[in-house]
């Protein structure tokens, strides 16, 4: 078996009495682009910072490329790009100086590429970081992370402050990078339409665990809102159907997981007419998080 890029085994983390990660496990394989989603406060940043070794976990272990987090070699660490959610600090530095300084820590740092991106994304090497807008600070961190040509790229809401044009340009660059290097990516965001484009898998963080982890295309192929012409008596038999409602003499439910019966199999089993309307990823997310919180 090929060793996964990231193995997370039963990790826990709490802040005082608040449990944020609670026995979370996940395996992330080479080349996967994982869209990490979840409500505010679900623990996405805590999970990402734990993977980056910036948070001490209380139980369990995290391995990257098969090695325990604390024992990564310098060479391995230099292959990991990271864009944190918080602003970068170093406000007194100038853009060009910042890139040069942090690039120096990474053997793979491609200065020409960093300058190409700086120019293309209209940053001025001579601007002081303090003078940049929130979006420009984010772009600078993205440039720094992409320019080390990472094998693993971890992005914590990297595009929250970017306008749609910049977001698309960033996504295009991310696609180029994954094509060139087969980079594995973890991407946390609330902009679900971005994930719908570039994610290979969707991971939903909820109550301290990854409650849903699906291949995106398989999920999109199956996720649907279903209308049943009559009431469905024993609906617990359909494990992948959630949010049941009664509408006059009929029922409504959401097919929320590719693991389970398909619409035509359900139709065959029940022998009643079902109307299926495909769901966008955002609608799927809203339905699933509604169910969890109801």
């Amino acid at each position: 078996m090929i060793t996964p890029v990231i193995q997370i085994n039963n990790i826990s983390k709490s802040y005082k009495t608040l449990s944020v990660l609670d026995g979370l496990s996940a395996n992330i394989k080479a080349g996967q682009i994982i869209g990490l989603v979840g409500r505010n406060g679900a623990g996405k940043t805590t999970l990402i910072e734990s993977i980056m070794g910036l948070r001490e976990i209380e139980g369990g272990e995290i391995k990257i490329w098969g090695d325990i987090l604390g024992e990564l070699t310098q060479d391995q660490k230099e292959q990991i790009g990271f864009v944190p959610q918080d602003s970068i600090g170093f406000e007194w530095m100038k853009v060009g100086h910042y890139l040069e300084y942090f690039g120096g820590f990474f053997a793979g740092f491609d200065k020409d590429y960093s300058q190409e991106l700086t120019k293309r994304w209209k940053l001025d090497n001579k601007s002081r970081i303090a003078e940049l807008s929130g979006g420009q600070k984010q772009i600078l961190q993205v440039i720094q992370a992409l320019s080390i040509k990472p094998k693993l790229l971890i992005l914590d809401e990297p595009v929250a402050h970017l306008d749609p044009n910049m977001r698309r340009q960033f996504l295009a660059e991310l696609v180029e990078l994954t094509c060139e290097l087969g980079t594995t990516v973890i991407f946390s965001t609330h902009i679900i339409s971005d994930l719908e484009r570039i994610a290979s898998h969707i991971a939903l963080l909820n109550h301290g665990k990854i409650s849903h982890f699906y291949e995106l295309e398989a999920l999109k192929e199956s996720a649907a809102s279903l209308l049943f012409e009559t009431e469905v008596p024993d609906h617990n038999q359909f494990k992948n159907l959630i949010n049941w409602q009664t509408i006059n003499q009929g029922s409504k439910a959401v097919l929320a997981s590719p693991n389970g019966m398909s619409v035509s199999e359900i139709q065959q089993q029940l022998g009643i007419n079902i109307q299926a309307q495909p769901l966008s990823l955002e609608d799927w997310y809203l339905e699933v998080t509604n169910e969890i919180n109801s």
Binding site: T178, C179, K220, Q277, L279, S280, E282
Partner: protein, 133 residues
């Protein structure tokens, strides 16, 4: 059409609920059917399409693989994907086209919207698949 211009064929909708690879498959087939893509014409590479449309490269590969299975595209080693020769039996008989346009007209007369018409077709297709097993 140059390869770069070919990218303009695609128009993706992420809120439709239809998987992106299927949108690509449908749009390439449509372009072949109406003659915008010609036999032996080369499609842009996976990387070019993925980057231009900002989508996962695996999604493009999956669409290409599907179109290869269906005989719409040919994979040529060292070159890429070419539009396959359109076989006569794959061209759509006039009666089918007429029946379809009658169906659409009838459905519109009953005020059915496009999504409903698509859904009815899909239901009818999956019902037929079951029967033929």
């Amino acid at each position: 059409m140059t390869q770069d211009r070919l990218i303009q064929l695609f128009s993706l909708n992420t809120s439709s609920g239809i998987p992106i690879y299927r949108q690509l498959v449908d749009q390439i087939k449509q372009a072949v059917r109406i003659g915008l893509l010609k036999t032996d014409q080369q499609l842009p590479s996976v990387r070019k399409i993925a980057s231009a449309l900002q989508i996962n490269p695996m999604t493009v590969s999956k669409a290409f693989a599907q179109l290869e299975i269906e005989g719409v595209l040919l994979r040529k080693r060292g070159i890429g994907m070419l539009v396959a020769e359109i076989k006569p039996q794959e061209s759509i008989p006039k009666e089918v086209e007429n029946a379809l346009s009658d169906l659409v007209e009838l459905s519109r007369n009953y005020q059915l919207n496009d999504e409903t018409i698509m859904m009815l077709l899909q239901q009818s297709l999956s019902a037929n698949k079951k029967g033929s097993k």
